[in-house]
Amino acid sequence: MGVRIRRILTTVVAIVVGLFVLADIFVSQLTTNILGLGFINQTIHGFSALFVSWLTIIVAFALFLGFINVISVHLNRINTNKPGIIYSVVLLLSLAFTLIVGFSTGGPNSISSQAMFEYVLQPLEATIFALLALFIATAAFRAFRIRNLETFFFVLFGVIVLLGQIPLSIYLWPEFPVIKDWILNVPTLAGVRGILLGVALGTIATGLRILMGADRPYTD
């Protein structure tokens, strides 16, 4: 099959599937409640549900391809003797060990597999996230340096909010918690809403470009 035909086909499939799923949101309500055309609702909803169920299969298969990618990348790193080769060896050995334990003891719900999650993976994840406290302190130390008017207000608001969070700050000045609440509820919330509004418009635009076939990240 020619590249051009393949591109056209994938684009048509993507647009049709996208339109069915989008239409399901509107038609499932509008036809039943307003126009009384239940069969259109059922047809579109049926196709939409089918496409969404396919998505689950595709995601599961993507996970398998990700697994192949991890093996391929780290085998290549070992073969080409890249820096940190020991980490690639440990990763591949851990991967093989987990697979062997999983297959030989009855899958991910077995006691051995659960023990690995509970006593290895979870403590490691907790350790990694515990670093956040330290990193927040170092990032704040860097960010809280007054270089211009923008950073001055950044520091000023940061200090007021920090002081406002401390119960003892009312002995310094009783208005600290009040000002802190105002900062969080008025300028901060206004800024967050502005950002969210922009993000929502950007998300709609991105989705529309896919539906219109202007963006085709799925074709090669």
Binding site: I25, F26, Q29, L30, N33, I34, L55, I58, V59, A62, L63, L65, G66, N69, V70, S72, V73, N76, K82, P83, G84, Y87, L121, L124, E125, I128, F129, L131, L132, F135, I136, T138, A139, A140, R142, A143, V192, I195, L196, L197, G198, V199, L201, G202, T203, I204, A205, T206, G207, L208, R209, I210, M212, A214, D215, P217, Y218, T219, D220
Partner: protein
């Protein structure tokens, strides 16, 4: 959702589609507007050159977003940047290292890289070795990227996509390695971390403008103009709403 709000959503969507088509027609006849300068995109344009000159690696993190949930748009924004970097790589032969936490994003990233190399199988295979799925869990992904930043010879680091708190772990690792760093996300809770650790930032909607700024794609410029027009509509609606509520 109530039928009234569905009709309202449909009307907004139709206005959006109409405006995109209108602006697309204008852009295609050459009426391209002047886009305000976004420093992060200007800096990004120099990153491939720096990777070529120094022989070190450009790392692009696409975050923990997926292609199969509400974070898809964020992942697509990161893929727009990858598309630009892959086109540059096709010219220079220096491939960026791309990492992500979701395997569906990996498939799209491979596709974008493949499209940029237009059938050069050897180059595609080389580039595929640099597209790396790290892990699905945010903490494990952050640990993988921190290791990548520490072990590999990274010159520049770009992190654009969906991120949570784990952003700071990776951002601080980049700072400690003294790596030039551009960060961008649409998650308001993560934006302070981006601001604190990145040298250049793409805050919120700015990251969706990558295609318009980096590749001057007509559809991206048209959607950027549409976003501006819709923002004015929302602004007018808010002012009219406030006035109407105050008068009543």
């Amino acid at each position: 959702m109530a039928a009234e709000s569905l009709i309202f959503t449909l009307v907004i969507l139709l206005i959006f589609v109409g405006l995109v088509l209108f602006f697309l027609a204008r852009v295609r006849i050459g009426r391209v507007p002047h886009l305000r300068r976004i420093q992060a995109f200007e800096t990004l344009k120099g990153f491939t050159g720096r990777a070529v000159e120094t022989g070190r690696i450009l790392h692009l993190s696409l975050g923990i977003g997926s292609m199969a949930n509400e974070t898809t748009a964020d992942s697509l924004a990161g893929l727009s940047i990858l598309s630009y970097l892959a086109e540059q790589a096709a010219l220079t032969g220096v491939h960026p290292t791309v990492s992500m936490a979701d395997p569906t994003v990996m498939l799209f990233a491979q596709n974008v890289v493949k499209a940029a190399h237009e059938g050069d199988r050897h180059r595609v295979e080389e580039a595929f070795q640099n597209v790396r799925w790290i892990a699905s869990q945010p903490a494990a992904y952050a640990a993988g990227v921190m290791s990548l930043l520490g072990v590999d010879d990274i010159e520049t680091n770009v992190m654009v996509g969906n991120f949570g708190d784990e952003y700071l772990l990776m951002g601080e690792a980049a700072v400690r390695q003294d790596v030039s760093h551009i960060g961008g996300t649409s998650n308001p809770n993560t934006l302070p971390f981006v601001y604190a650790s990145a040298q250049e930032t793409l805050l919120g909607e700015e990251m969706f403008a990558a295609g318009a700024y980096l590749q001057k794609r007509p559809a991206h410029i048209a959607s950027l103009l549409t976003q501006d027009a819709m923002r004015w509509l929302v602004f007018v609606a808010i002012v009219v709403g406030v006035l109407a509520a105050s008068i009543r």
